[in-house]
C-alpha cells in the first residue's frame, strides 16, 4: 500500500519490482502470480495495461502502465499555433470533446487577455454540461456492464446518441466537435438546436429514473460495488484524485464552485458529495451530477442573452465570416491570424476547468510567439489512475474491472 510506484518502468522492471515486493512480503515459495491485464483487455477502457500480482484470486499489488496511446500532444503543441491546436483537444478526453475545447481556449484567452461575449460563454456552458451528461452516461454504462448488466449500457448509449445528434445540430459534428474558438464559439446556436436541447432535457430525467430503478436496489450491482475500492478523503487528496471520484470520498471540491469560470457563479446547482468513497458512491455522484447538469443547462438556456458570439478583438480572434467577405480590415486580420496566429504576451498561465473526469488544466508558457513555448496538460484520467493500486489491493480480479469502470479513465487523455 505504501509502495512508491514508478510508471516509467519497462515491463521487465515492473515484473522485477513485483517480485521484489513478493520477497519483501515474505513469500519465499513465490505463490504469487503476475498477471498481465491489457492493453487489449476489453474492460480496461482502451489501452491501459495492468500488471497484477495475485495470491490465488486476490490482488496483492498492481502496477498500471500508461503510455500506449501516447501521441505527444504536449510536444506537438509547441509546433502549431493556438488556433490549430483546438482539434487536438477533442482527442484528449474523446468522450467529452466540447468540454476539452473550452478548457484549452479559456487558458489561451486568459493568456491573451480577451473578454468574450456573454452569449458565447453561455453557449460554452451548455455544451460543457451536455458533454458532462454524455461522458457520465458512458462511464455508468461501461461500469455497469463490467459488473454484468447489458441493458443499462444500451440505454445509456441510446441517450448519448441523442446528445450526439444535438452536437450535430449545434456544432456540426457528432464526435470531434472543434467548436470553441479563441474569443468565442465558431457558430451561433440555432433555434432548432435550442428546441432540440429543451426536448432532450424534458425526457431525460425519466430515463435517469429508469436507470436508477434498474440499479439502485439491484442486489447484484450493490453487492459488487458497495465497499469495493474504498479510498479515504485524505488518500484521495494526497494522490491528486479529482472530479466525481474525489467527491465520492467526501471532499466537496468542484472547480465550478471553487474557482468559477464562465458564468458558473451565477448558476444554482448542488455539488453531490458522498462520504463512502467506494465504487457505489462514485456511481451515485455521477447519477446526481447528471441531474445537476440538467438544472445548469436549463438556467443557461433561460439566461442566455442575444448578441455576438465572437469577441471583437483584432489580431486575437478571427472576425465573423460576413465581415471577412465585405470589409478590408477584417480580411487583413483573417490573413494575419491564419499565418502567424494570435500572439500573446510573454508569460505563463494555468487554467483549469471541471471536466466530467475531473480537473483538466492547461499550463501554457508563452514567449510572445504564435505558438506555446511549452504546454503541460494536467489530465484528470492520468491522476485518477494513480489511485488504482491503492483501490484494488485485497480485492478479487473481477473487482478490478468494476473499480476501473468506477474510476472512469479515458486513455486518450491519460496518455496524451
Amino acid at each position: 500500500m505504501d509502495q512508491v510506484i514508478d510508471n516509467d518502468l519497462t515491463y521487465s522492471r515492473a515484473v522485477e519490482a513485483l517480485k521484489k515486493y513478493a520477497v519483501e512480503t515474505d513469500d519465499p515459495l513465490d505463490n504469487e502470480m503476475v498477471l498481465n491485464m491489457g492493453p487489449q483487455h476489453p474492460a480496461t477502457h482502451g489501452v491501459l495495461r495492468l500488471l497484477l500480482s495475485l495470491d490465488g484470486e486476490t490482488v496483492t499489488n498492481c502496477v498500471p502502465m500508461l503510455g500506449y496511446l501516447h501521441r505527444g500532444y504536449e510536444k506537438m503543441a509547441e509546433d502549431m499555433n493556438y488556433y490549430d491546436y483546438i482539434p487536438h483537444t477533442d482527442r484528449l478526453d474523446y468522450l467529452a470533446p466540447p468540454s476539452n475545447n473550452v478548457a484549452f481556449v479559456l487558458a489561451v484567452e486568459k493568456l491573451l487577455g480577451i473578454e468574450i461575449p456573454r452569449r458565447a460563454s453561455y453557449i460554452r456552458m451548455i455544451n460543457s454540461e451536455l458533454a458532462r451528461i454524455a461522458s457520465h452516461l458512458v462511464a455508468i454504462g461501461a461500469m455497469v456492464m463490467d459488473a454484468g448488466a447489458m441493458t443499462v449500457f444500451l440505454w445509456c448509449f441510446r441517450e448519448r446518441e441523442k446528445i450526439q445528434e444535438l452536437y450535430d445540430l449545434i456544432m456540426g459534428a457528432r464526435f470531434t466537435t472543434s467548436y470553441t474558438r479563441i474569443g468565442g464559439v465558431s457558430g451561433d446556436i440555432t433555434d432548432e438546436a435550442q428546441a432540440g436541447i429543451l426536448e432532450f432535457l424534458d425526457q431525460f430525467p425519466e430515463t435517469l429514473d429508469d436507470l436508477e430503478k434498474l440499479l439502485n436496489a439491484n442486489r447484484i450491482f450493490v453487492q459488487r460495488t458497495d465497499g469495493v475500492g474504498v479510498i479515504s478523503a485524505e488518500d484521495a487528496i494526497d494522490l491528486g484524485v479529482s472530479g466525481p471520484n474525489l467527491r465520492a470520498s467526501g471532499v466537496e471540491h468542484d472547480i465550478r464552485r471553487a474557482e468559477p469560470y464562465l458564468f458558473y457563479n451565477e448558476m444554482d446547482f448542488k455539488i453531490p458529495t458522498y462520504s463512502n468513497g467506494d465504487s457505489l458512491a462514485r456511481y451515485w455522484v455521477r447519477m446526481d451530477e447528471m441531474r445537476e447538469s440538467i438544472k445548469i443547462i436549463r438556467q443557461a438556456m433561460e439566461m442566455m442573452p442575444f448578441g455576438d458570439i465572437m469577441a471583437n478583438s483584432p489580431k486575437k480572434a478571427i472576425p465573423r465570416k460576413v465581415e471577412i467577405y465585405s470589409k478590408m480590415e477584417e480580411l487583413i486580420n483573417d490573413f494575419m491570424l491564419t499565418n502567424f496566429g494570435a500572439e500573446p504576451p510573454v508569460g505563463e498561465v494555468y487554467h483549469a476547468v471541471e471536466n466530467p473526469k475531473g480537473e483538466l488544466g492547461f499550463h501554457i508558457v508563452s514567449r510572445g510567439e504564435g505558438h506555446p513555448w511549452k504546454m503541460k496538460i494536467k489530465s484528470p484520467s492520468a491522476t485518477n489512475l494513480q489511485a488504482l493500486p491503492h483501490l484494488v489491493n485485497g480485492h478479487m480480479i473481477s473487482d478490478v474491472v468494476v473499480i476501473l469502470g468506477s474510476l472512469d479513465p479515458v486513455m486518450g487523455e491519460a496518455d496524451k
Binding site: 490549430d84 459534428a173 460576413v322 491564419t338
Partner: protein
Amino acid sequence: MNKKFTKKDLSFWHNLYIPEIVKGLGLTWKAMRGPKQTMEYPEEKFIPTGSYRGRPVLAMEENGEERCVACGLCSRICPALAIEVQAAETEREKERYPVKFEINMLRCIFCGFCEDVCPEEAIVMSDKYELVFDNREDAIFGKDRLLTPVEQLKPRIEFLRKHK
C-alpha cells in the same frame, strides 16, 4: 430522485431478487413498446442540416468557374496538412486561380477550419459524408471531384452567413 441503497439497506425483498427481476422486466417491456431508436442505414439515409460539416468541397459558380483565388489560407490553417494549393494568374476578373487544388481525404479531419478562414466562401463543408476508396490514390481529391455547383451547397452557405 430515487432512494439509494447500500448493502445494509437492502431488505429481504430486495435480497430475494424476484421483485427486482419483475421490475426490470417491466422496464424492458416499456422499452420494447417504445419508439425504434435505430436507422436502417443503407436503405434509409441520414439527411444532414445546414450545420453539418461533411467533406470539404470547392464552390463553383454558374458559369463553371471556381470561386477560389488560391490565397492558400486553407492550406495554411489545416491542422492535418491535407490541402495542397498551387496558384496561377489568369486574364479573368479575379486574376488568380488554383491550377492544382488537392485535398487528401485520408488526412482530412472535417474540422471546418478551411471554411472558417476562407475569405471568398470558396471552400465549403458540404453535406456529403459517404467516402469510400479502395486505394490511396483515389483518396486524393483533385479539382475535378471537389468542384460543386453553388446550388447544391445552399443550406450550408445560408447557415454560414446567418450563424457564423
